[in-house]
């Protein structure tokens, strides 16, 4: 398992984790551009933001927040299971992580469907009775949650690959880099949602 350009397994794992973090920094900047647009347009159209936020389903958003926190727990436990060499622990926790990720996407599907029904999707069918500035809010809502959902899909595919490797017994206390590094990605996607939930769903609740 030790590639020839590393001295030992510890250094190899360290390099993998560092490389993953470099990628995650680019991801932070990628989502950062969208958060920048959110801050700027919210400062310009605060009322449109409050009115738009009122249309989101806080209950579904909250459920998805809890679902993702559960998935992060099972992900952390899957990495730990690999570290202590537990085959069962890895398989069970990876499957649970995949299930939680899938639940998140199913809930998201119902949320999106409701937005289409209520004419809240920006474009020619946007509710004409609403302030057009609200289209900015919903554009950012769909872009931010859509790209986040895309990351979830990528994460689930990644977890299926890792599950297959874990099933074959590829990971051990000495070699668990792929589980660890994929876990970092999964937790990152959870962190994005931790910020999206209050900023999109909760901002108008006190009015």
């Amino acid at each position: 398992m030790l590639q020839h350009h590393f001295f030992n397994m510890g250094q190899q794992l360290e390099a993998s984790v560092l490389g993953m973090w470099v990628f995650l920094v680019t991801e932070v900047m990628f989502f950062g551009g969208l958060f920048m647009a959110y801050i700027l347009y919210r400062s310009m159209y605060p009322d449109a933001w409050l009115a738009g936020s009122h249309e989101l389903n806080e209950m579904l958003g909250g459920i998805n927040t809890v679902v993702l926190i559960f998935s992060s727990l099972t992900m952390a436990l899957a990495v730990r299971a690999a570290q202590v060499g537990s085959w069962m622990g890895q398989v069970v926790n990876l499957i649970l992580t995949i299930i939680f990720g899938t639940i998140f996407l199913v809930v998201k599907y119902f949320e999106y469907a409701a937005k289409f029904e209520h004419h809240l999707v920006p474009g020619p069918y946007f509710d004409p009775a609403r302030d057009p500035a609200q289209q900015l809010y919903f554009s950012l809502y769909f872009m931010m949650t859509g790209i986040h959902a895309l990351h979830m899909v990528v994460g689930i595919v990644l977890m299926l690959i890792i599950l297959r490797m874990a099933w074959k017994g590829r990971f051990s206390a000495e070699y668990y880099g792929p589980v660890e590094v994929s876990g970092l990605y999964w937790h990152f996607v959870d962190i994005v949602w931790i910020f999206l939930f209050p900023l999109l769903y909760l901002i108008g609740k006190h009015h």
Binding site: L18, V25, F35, M75, D190
Partner: protein
């Protein structure tokens, strides 16, 4: 690098994250004036820090990895700070067509 956290630590972090989610939903109902969003962001930042330090294990990583992880958020602050510093001060000099 090969630090193994106890399951108990993970359950504690999990419980705190769930509790903070409940807190942020509850506080959103109270009118704090201009402070609603800063408070929500502070709670989100606290939750994110817990995930980064313990679930992602940055607390037990090398100093190099810690610096790289922090750099992303440093650049984010620069992005937000300079951009809003521009937009929010444009009206000050009465320049037409901002």
């Amino acid at each position: 690098m090969s630090h193994i956290s106890s399951k108990g630590l993970y359950y504690t972090i999990f419980g705190t994250l769930i509790a903070m989610t409940v807190v942020t939903v509850a506080i959103a109902r109270i009118d704090l004036g201009a402070l609603n969003t800063p408070v929500a962001l502070a709670i989100a930042a606290f939750k994110a820090t817990l995930v980064i330090l313990f679930f992602m294990g940055v607390k037990y990583n090398t100093p190099l990895t810690k610096v790289v992880a922090a750099s992303g958020f440093l650049w984010l602050i620069i992005l937000f700070g300079i951009t809003m510093g521009d937009y929010l001060t444009r009206a000050w000099i009465g320049f037409p067509g901002r």
